[in-house]
Subunit: 361 residues, 2 copies
Amino acid sequence: MSKKSIRIAIDCMGGDHGLSITVPAAKQFAQQHPDTLCLLVGDEAAIRAQLNQEGAASGDWYEIVHASETVCMDDPVEVALRRKKDSSMRIAAQAVKDERAHACVSAGNTGAWMAITRYVLKTLDGIDRPAIATSIPNQKGGATTVLDLGANVDCTAEHLLQFALLGSALVHTVDGKDRPTVGLLNIGEEIIKGNEVVKQAAELLRASGLNFYGNVEGDDICKGSVDVVVCDGFVGNVVLKSMEGLAKMVAKMLREEFTRNALTMTAALVAKPVLNRLSDRFDNRRYNGAALLGLRGIVIKSHGSADAYAFGYALQRARFAVKNGLLEGTTQYIEHLRQSFAQADVHSPLSSTSNGDTLSA
Amino acid sequence: MSKKSIRIAIDCMGGDHGLSITVPAAKQFAQQHPDTLCLLVGDEAAIRAQLNQEGAASGDWYEIVHASETVCMDDPVEVALRRKKDSSMRIAAQAVKDERAHACVSAGNTGAWMAITRYVLKTLDGIDRPAIATSIPNQKGGATTVLDLGANVDCTAEHLLQFALLGSALVHTVDGKDRPTVGLLNIGEEIIKGNEVVKQAAELLRASGLNFYGNVEGDDICKGSVDVVVCDGFVGNVVLKSMEGLAKMVAKMLREEFTRNALTMTAALVAKPVLNRLSDRFDNRRYNGAALLGLRGIVIKSHGSADAYAFGYALQRARFAVKNGLLEGTTQYIEHLRQSFAQADVHSPLSSTSNGDTLSA
């Protein structure tokens, strides 16, 4: 095995573009980070061909791990999990399980990647379900971590508490924030005070020892009122996609207005440096790489449509999580919370065992 | 009573700014629409003083309807409903109930306005709960009607169907679209297929005779994939506020980037006409005025922070709904749906009677 200190398993076959994106992204990433070994997982011959095409076949930056199958973007979860036991996703997750890699990354089918990593790696003790977390840029120049983004449609208060824990551990270890603030996504006090689950979750959060800020509303995400925003997966997914839709519309309107006629095109030329800076600040490729938290291993999901630049950010996120000890940090958070609830004489909302094995394959 | 054909009751005391906004907005609105009479509801002396200050005391454009109490922005719903029976909100709603006005508008406390109008006016036959609908500008240059935006936290499939009906009736009568398309807000198929309520609602929608497009995702709001997007009030509220937060952040970043230094400020000067057009397209004041649908009367809610320009749009929305027969249109839709379900031999998801009287005051 290579002596490089960080090893990342990359599903080279996943995503809308597969090898043509993942391999060059991995190569560039490895150049930037000589301490990191890339395990290129997928069809060996196809990976070799791509490496040759990139002129990247030499060097000690990679190892190829053959996988005979590929999960397609539209494969049902059942097919991915039960019929494709030698998929590049499965083998990448297995590499983490077997401690051949510290983290795994895929741009493939989200549902399949979640199911496979959960099946192979299982959840951490105390955590019922994994959650998807991502960073959304905020007005303060930082980013707000939001979870869950679609792993769990129906959540209990206990699940929301566990998401708060996972998000706090992520921001604490990866962003180095001492006591990340947590907000519970809710609707305007002036209308109604939220549903039962949210109210119960607020009570648990108050007893948890986490740095609970209280309820927040949708606009607090971009305001950056808190470090971590917690919600169920249905709400999180819809919110994220709505915001993506709006961001795309704004970009389109900017283009339309600046290309309307000769005059506006001149204005665009003059304003170009400003507009470029603006689009850099908004470039969501820099925020690519959602974390699947709560598993016994570091798992990153890249956007399916990521280009090599964006996929590189997902790889960096994986490396950063390994380097900063995300797993150890999360385990410490779980222990800390158990103690808080014991001291407060409250029944712990953390599950007593891992239950990632409820799925069978 | 005045011979003007349209009469709108305006809660002059509501909103963050009260009389100083509502009275000048009403005056300008009445000038633009000589067929419309404004019933100015609130403290008579204070309204007269404001009219004098505006030099608007003469003319047949208004009548004052005295109300001795005002619902404050932070009054609990119970206080507004049970303790302030002579509030300007209550009297404005009562004017619609008594057929002194065709519609009522308030910029006050949303929860109170909902509770009061529901108590005074009751829901339409077939409708269990009123819903809040608004228009969000979309990429196609039109607007997408989204509901519910916070009136109902926990919804059944039947409620979602009723929202689809109310939204369709709104778009049909007010925007003049023949068979508005309806989308059910859901999360990416690739992750999970939504919760039970959403699945059941989809079945009801397919049997309804409404123009059901199918599931849509968050980004379809700005894409303009459908005319009407239906969701529960928790999701709708969070989505709307998240998008508002993002829009504000974009505006702030634009300002920041263009005022960074002398060079960028020159660029801003050159680009000013373009940026102005852009900010016009984004000016959410033009979309002010959410409709409370499903009641036996036309009820509009303005943003609490609306200025006179924005409040004028809320008044126009009320007038337009009256002029286009929103109530009659909605009743026809309800009848049409009852027939569809009867023909399909499906138990009607429309309630058999109005139940707006479950609240007591």
